[in-house]
C-alpha cells in the first residue's frame, strides 16, 4: 500500500504528460479526398491581420452559430468544410441551419416562431431579409446604451447575415496575397473584376472550381500550385499561418482546463483524506494534484507563447488575453504558495483560478478573433509589455489573496481542518500575497501613468480604468495599514482580502462596462450580469465569514488571540 501512495504522483504526472503530449502533437485531421488540411492553412487577410483560412472559417461560424462546427444528422461538419461549401456552392450552403436566433420577437418577425429550433438557414431568413434590414436600420439609430434586447438581437442577426453574404461573395476576407514588394492584400472579386486574367487570382479560382466540380485530384494539384506560389512570396506569413492552424486545432487552453478540473478533484480528495486523518493518502493525492497543475501550467505556457509568436505582441492585448494571463500568473503564485505552505491549498487555488479564468476567457473570446488588431494608441509593444503585464500581475495577486480568503472561510466554517497553525500560515500567505499585489499594482499603475503622459500629455487623467487601477492600489494599502495599525487581525484580513475580489473585478471589467473614457475599448455587454453574480457571491462569502467563530467547525479560534503582528511594535 505504501508503495502505491509513493508511486501515485509519478503515475499521474506521466499520464498527464502523455495526455497533453498526444493532444499537442497529433492535431485532428479532416478526412476528405480533398486536401482541406492544406486548404485551411492558406493565409488570407481579414480585419487587418494575416491569418489562415481556418481561423476565418472558425471565427465566422462561431460568430454566426455560436459553435466551431455544424452538427447534422450525418455527423459533424467542420468550419473549413462549411466555408469552402459556402464560397463554392452557396446554393447548398444557404440551406444549412447555422443562424442562431434566441429572441422570440425576432423569431416571430421572421415567421419562424413555430419551429422548435434555435438555428436557422439563410434561405429561411432571406424572404424576410428586407424587414430584418429595416428593423436593423431603425435600431441602429438608437444609441448603443439605450437599445432594448430586441433591437440588440436584430442588429446582431443583421450583422451575421451581412457577414454570411460577404463571405459567400468573397469580398471578405482578402484572398489575393501581395506578391510583389509594396503591394497590399487584395479582394479576390475586385482583382478579377479589374483583370480577369490576373494569374494569382486565376490560380485560386482553379482551386475553387475544382472543388465545385467535385474533382479531388485537380483540387489537390491546383491547391499545391497555389500554395507554392504563396509560400515563395510570403513565406513568413505562410509559416505562421500553418502554425496558427495547429494552434486552432490543438486548443491548448482547453487541454489545460480539463487538467485543472482533474487536478482540483485530486486536491479535494487530498483535503478529504486529511480530514479523515489519512495523512499518507492526503500527501500522495496532493502531490498528484501538484504534478497535474505543473503539466497544465506548461500547456498553458505553450498556448500563451504561441499567441505571442502569432501576434508578434506581448501576451496581453485585450480582455480575452488578460483573463488567460490572470489565470496563468495565479498558477505561478499558487505553485509558490504550495511550496511554502505544504497544505495543498496553493495547488487547489491554482487549479480553481486557472479553470475559472479559462472559462471567462473562453466566453470573452466568443465574439470573434481573439488576436484582433489593436487601436493605434495601444500600438506600443514596450508599454504593453511593461504596464499591461505588471498591472495584470497585480490583478492576479489581488484575486489570489481574495480566493485564499474564501478558502480560509470555507475551511474554517465547514471543516475541522483549519487548526491554529494552518490558519496562521494561511493568513501569513494572504498577507504576503497582498504585499506583492500592492507593489505590482502600484508599479503597474505608475507605468500606465507614464504611458499616458507619453501619449496624451497627462500622467493622470481620472479616466475610468485609471481610477480602477488606483482603487486596487488603495484597497491593498488600506488592508496593509489596517493590519499594521492592529485594526484588523486574521479574520479581518481575510474578509478585506475577499472584498478585494470585488474591487479587482470591478476595475478589470466594470470600468469597461461604463463605456466612458479612453480605455473603453474592451466593452462587453452580457458580462454585466456575470459581474453582478460575482459581486453577490463574494458578499455572500463575506457574510459567511461574519458568522461568529464559536460556530465555525474549526475550533482554533478558542485559543488565546495571537499576539499583535511584529511590525506594529517597530513603528
Amino acid at each position: 500500500m505504501k508503495k502505491l501512495q509513493q508511486l501515485l504522483p509519478w503515475i499521474v504526472l506521466v499520464l498527464s504528460i502523455v495526455y497533453a503530449g498526444q493532444k499537442l502533437a497529433r492535431p485532428e485531421k479532416i478526412d476528405s479526398p480533398f486536401d482541406l488540411n492544406t486548404f485551411r492553412q492558406i493565409p488570407v487577410s481579414a480585419h487587418g491581420r494575416t491569418k489562415p483560412l481556418d481561423t476565418v472559417a472558425r471565427n465566422s461560424l462561431m460568430n454566426i452559430s455560436g459553435r466551431q462546427s455544424i452538427r447534422t444528422d450525418q455527423g459533424s461538419v467542420s468550419a473549413i468544410e462549411w466555408y469552402i461549401e459556402l464560397i463554392t456552392s452557396p446554393e447548398a450552403s444557404i440551406k444549412r441551419e447555422v443562424f442562431r436566433i434566441d429572441h422570440p420577437d425576432v423569431l416571430t418577425l421572421a415567421g419562424l416562431d413555430t419551429e422548435d429550433r434555435t438555428r436557422f438557414s439563410f434561405a429561411e431568413l432571406r424572404d424576410v431579409g428586407n424587414e430584418i434590414n429595416r428593423q436593423a436600420m431603425l435600431a441602429s439609430k438608437v444609441k448603443a446604451k439605450a437599445r432594448d434586447p430586441f433591437q440588440r438581437a436584430i442588429l446582431v442577426l443583421n450583422q451575421r447575415m451581412m457577414l454570411f453574404s460577404e463571405l459567400s461573395q468573397l469580398t471578405s476576407p482578402y484572398l489575393v496575397p501581395p506578391l510583389t514588394v509594396g503591394e497590399d492584400w487584395r479582394s479576390f472579386v475586385s482583382v478579377l473584376n479589374e483583370n480577369p486574367q490576373d494569374p494569382d487570382a486565376r490560380a485560386l479560382l482553379s482551386v475553387l472550381q475544382a472543388f465545385r466540380n467535385n474533382e479531388p485530384d485537380a483540387f489537390n494539384a491546383e491547391l499545391k500550385k497555389f500554395r507554392d506560389l504563396v509560400d515563395s512570396h510570403i513565406s513568413y506569413d505562410a509559416r505562421k499561418s500553418r502554425y496558427e492552424v495547429v494552434f486552432n486545432q490543438v486548443q491548448p487552453f482547453i487541454i489545460a482546463s480539463y487538467l485543472f478540473v482533474v487536478a482540483f478533484l485530486f486536491g479535494c480528495f487530498g483535503m478529504l483524506c486529511a480530514q479523515l486523518t489519512k495523512p499518507d493518502w492526503s500527501k500522495s493525492l496532493l502531490a498528484s494534484m501538484t504534478a497535474m497543475v505543473w503539466v497544465a501550467f506548461t500547456v498553458m505556457t505553450i498556448g500563451l507563447a504561441s499567441r505571442v509568436y502569432l501576434q508578434g505582441r506581448p501576451p496581453i492585448t485585450n480582455l480575452y488575453s488578460s483573463a488567460v494571463f490572470v489565470g496563468w500568473f495565479s498558477i505561478i503564485i499558487g505553485l509558490v504558495v504550495d511550496r511554502q505552505m505544504k497544505l495543498g491549498l496553493g495547488g487547489i487555488m491554482a487549479s480553481v483560478i486557472g479553470f475559472v479564468s479559462l472559462v471567462v476567457a473562453h466566453n470573452l473570446g466568443n465574439s470573434g478573433d481573439t488576436m484582433e488588431m489593436m487601436q493605434a494608441v495601444l500600438d506600443s509593444n514596450f508599454w504593453l509589455t511593461t504596464h499591461v503585464v505588471v498591472i495584470t500581475i497585480g490583478y492576479s495577486a489581488t484575486f489570489f489573496a481574495g480566493f485564499m480568503g474564501i478558502a480560509y472561510v470555507l475551511l474554517g466554517v465547514l471543516t475541522k481542518t483549519l487548526d491554529r497553525e494552518r490558519g496562521k500560515s494561511m493568513t501569513k500567505m494572504i498577507y504576503g500575497v497582498i504585499c506583492f499585489a500592492t507593489v505590482t499594482s502600484f508599479v503597474g499603475t505608475v507605468l500606465g501613468g507614464i504611458w499616458a503622459d507619453q501619449s496624451w500629455g497627462r500622467f493622470w487623467g481620472w479616466d475610468a480604468k485609471e481610477n480602477g487601477a488606483a482603487l486596487i492600489v488603495l484597497w491593498n494599502l488600506l488592508i496593509l495599514h489596517a493590519r499594521w495599525g492592529g485594526m484588523i487581525r486574521d479574520r479581518g484580513l481575510v474578509q478585506l482580502a475577499i472584498f478585494g475580489n470585488i474591487i479587482t473585478a470591478w476595475s478589470w471589467f466594470g470600468t469597461n462596462m461604463l463605456g466612458v473614457g479612453l480605455h473603453s475599448y474592451g466593452f462587453t455587454n452580457s458580462a454585466i450580469f456575470w459581474l453582478s453574480v460575482f459581486v453577490i457571491s463574494q458578499l455572500a462569502m463575506m457574510s459567511i465569514g461574519m458568522i461568529p467563530m464559536a460556530m465555525w467547525r474549526s475550533k482554533f479560534a478558542k485559543a488565546p488571540p495571537p499576539p499583535v503582528p511584529e511590525s506594529t511594535s517597530v513603528q
Partner: protein
C-alpha cells in the same frame, strides 16, 4: 513635546485607513458619475475640490429606480491634503530613521512627492490645442475651454492691431466699449454653447436675429453646456451682437466659433475684422504642417496610425527642423509637449494637443523613489520568508 502631543492624533494609522476608505469611495463615485457628466466637470467637482455633493442617483441606473438626494463628501483636494498631513505627521512622530525602515521612508517620500506633483499639475498645467491644415503655418495655441471676441485692424502693413475681449466680459445685454476701436459692441444674445443651423433648418423664431455678414445665411441656436454625454465635451459659443458707431447703427452680426473667417466691419472708411474664436495664446515658435497621415489596417476602417509631419521653426532658439509627431511619440519643445490628438475631416489637417506642465517630471521621480522603497521594504521581508522552507 507639546507639538508631538498635538501631532499624535493627526499621525495615527487609523486616520490613514479612514482616508484610504474615503478616497476609495470618492474615486468610485467619481468614476460612476462619468457616465452622465463630462470628465473635466468631474475632475473639477470631485478630484480638485474641497467638498463635493455626490448625487445618490449615480449608484443606481435611472431605469431601475429614481433616487433623489445627495450627500456631501470631502473632495479630492481635501483628501489629498489630509493624506499629506497624516503622512508627514507620522514621520515626525512615529518613524525613526533606522536601517530597517529605509524602504518605508523612501516609499512615503515618493508618495509625498507624487501628491505634491498632482497639486502642481492641478494648479500650473495648461492644456491647449493647435489645429493646423495641411500646408498651413500656425503660431498660436487655442484653449478650447474658453473663447474671445477678436477685433483686428490691418491698416498697418507690418503688424496687425488685435484687440481681444475675453469671454468673461461677454454676457447677454452688455455693451462693450473700448478706446482701441471706434465702435461699441452691444451683445444682444450670448450663447455659451450653441448649434449652427442653415436657412432651411432654422425655426422661424431664430431667423433674422441679425442682418449683416453670415447671419444672412446662418442662424445659431443655444444649447445646454456640454457635459461629456454623446461625446460632446467642448462648448461651441456663439453670440448675436449689434455694432454701433456712436448713435449710428453699423449692423447686427452673428459671431461664432463655428465660423472660421472673420467678418468685415467698415467704420469711417477703415476696415476691421471681427470674430468669435477660441482663446488664443501666441507663441514665439510656429508649426507648419507638411503632411498628415491616417493609415488604416488593410481592408478595414480601423486606424493603424495617425502621424503629422511638421516643420518646427523657433528663431529665438535657433530651431528649424522637420519633426514627425505620432501616437506615443510626442514632440517636446520649449517646456511644452505636442501630442497627436485628433484630425480634421477628410484628413485635411491635424489637431495637436499642447501641454505645458512644469511638474511633468515629478511623477517620474516620485514613482521611482516609491517603487524602490517598496521593493526594499517588502524585499527585506519577503526574501527570507521565501527562502525558509517549512
Amino acid at each position: 513635546m507639546m507639538i508631538r502631543k498635538l501631532l499624535k492624533p493627526v499621525a495615527s494609522l487609523k486616520l490613514t485607513v479612514v482616508i484610504f476608505a474615503l478616497s476609495i469611495f470618492l474615486i468610485f463615485a467619481g468614476t460612476l458619475v462619468q457616465v452622465h457628466t463630462g470628465i473635466w466637470t468631474v475632475v473639477d467637482q470631485y478630484f480638485r475640490s474641497l467638498v463635493v455633493s455626490i448625487e445618490l442617483q449615480i449608484f443606481v441606473p435611472k431605469d431601475i429606480a429614481t433616487i433623489p438626494g445627495s450627500i456631501w463628501f470631502p473632495g479630492g483636494l481635501t483628501l489629498g491634503v489630509a493624506m499629506l498631513v497624516n503622512l508627514i505627521a507620522a514621520h515626525a512622530v512615529r518613524f525613526k530613521l533606522k536601517k530597517k525602515r529605509i524602504g518605508i521612508i523612501l516609499t512615503h517620500l515618493g508618495v509625498i512627492l507624487l501628491l505634491v506633483g498632482e497639486f502642481v499639475t492641478g494648479f500650473a498645467a495648461r492644456e491647449g490645442n493647435m489645429t493646423i491644415r495641411e500646408g498651413e503655418t500656425v503660431n498660436f495655441v487655442e484653449d478650447i475651454r474658453s473663447s474671445e471676441i477678436a477685433i483686428v485692424d490691418q491698416a498697418d502693413p507690418v503688424d496687425d492691431l488685435v484687440v481681444i475681449v475675453p469671454e468673461q466680459l461677454i454676457e447677454t445685454d452688455t455693451t462693450i466699449v473700448s478706446g482701441l476701436f471706434p465702435f461699441t459692441i452691444e451683445v444682444t444674445e450670448w450663447m455659451p454653447n450653441s448649434q449652427m443651423l442653415g436657412p432651411m433648418q432654422a425655426p422661424e423664431s431664430r431667423k433674422g436675429l441679425a442682418d449683416t455678414g453670415i447671419a444672412r445665411e446662418l442662424a445659431a441656436l443655444p444649447l445646454p453646456r456640454a457635459n461629456g454625454v454623446d461625446g460632446a465635451t467642448v462648448d461651441a459659443p456663439s453670440a448675436y451682437v449689434t455694432l454701433m458707431n456712436g448713435e449710428q447703427r453699423i449692423g447686427s452680426y452673428l459671431l461664432s466659433v463655428y465660423v472660421d473667417q472673420p467678418q468685415m466691419v467698415v467704420v469711417d472708411g477703415r476696415t476691421y475684422w471681427i470674430s468669435l474664436r477660441f482663446a488664443r495664446t501666441y507663441k514665439p515658435y510656429s508649426l507648419h504642417l507638411v503632411d498628415f497621415k491616417h493609415d488604416l489596417f488593410t481592408g478595414t476602417q480601423m486606424a493603424r496610425n495617425y502621424s503629422s509631419d511638421v516643420r518646427l521653426v523657433d528663431e529665438g532658439r535657433n530651431v528649424d527642423r522637420d519633426v514627425l509627431i505620432y501616437m506615443n511619440h510626442p514632440l517636446r519643445h520649449a517646456g511644452e509637449t505636442f501630442y497627436q490628438a485628433s484630425f480634421l475631416r477628410d484628413d485635411a489637417g491635424t489637431v495637436l494637443q499642447v501641454v505645458q506642465n512644469p511638474g511633468w517630471m515629478i511623477p517620474y521621480i516620485s514613482c521611482s523613489i516609491a517603487t524602490l522603497g517598496m521593493l526594499i521594504h517588502f524585499g527585506i521581508r519577503l526574501v527570507p520568508t521565501l527562502r525558509r522552507r517549512p
